[in-house]
Symmetry: C2
Subunit: 109 residues, 2 copies
């Protein structure tokens, strides 16, 4: 719901969830003009099939570990690691450990 | 230099710098189409005067504490906290403790 999103200048908490991660769900934190930020919760073993985003994105692992496949290569993303992708780059994810990731999407058009 | 920036899909380290923070300098980590990410190093007591960015931004404190003034209000940003601003919103910063911040800028035009 729009009312749940952070307003400009509002301080939000993106620390690791720790024990609360087990019961957490993916949430959209910021939904603004040209910009969207979500905390993606990816449990161990869960896969997100290959997909694309219309604009560039960054993916910042806050806790846990995921396997991130892009450009024909699987890379591991652990806590405190980040990568970025250009617009329309197909990618997929798989949780190695329970993980949460901060995903920043540049919205185009 | 362009060669220092992360390529799409390349995993980069954005963990707190810890003791290395004292000697660290601001660095641009990602410079891509429509997107730029930098690690801003702000020592305690240092100020960044009021300025604007042409597009929306997010500011994610990785370590330390800063005072962030925007929309007529000073807010404190500690480790694991984030805020976002719309395009052209004037803001200023001051280090309360030595800090590093991940700043994501949406580039427009």
């Amino acid at each position: 719901m729009a009312l749940d999103h952070a307003k400009p200048g509002e301080v939000i908490d993106v620390r690791p969830l720790g024990e609360a991660l087990a019961d957490a769900r993916t949430t959209t934190l910021i939904k603004a003009e040209r910009l969207e930020v979500l905390r993606l919760v990816l449990p161990a073993g869960k896969e997100i099939a290959t997909h694309t985003a219309p604009g560039p994105i960054t993916v910042h692992c806050l806790e846990g570990r995921v396997a991130f496949t892009v450009l024909g290569e699987e890379r591991e993303l652990g806590a405190g690691r980040m990568l970025h992708l250009g617009a329309g780059e197909p990618h997929s994810l798989r949780g190695i450990e329970d993980a949460s990731l901060l995903v920043t999407l540049v919205l185009v058009k």
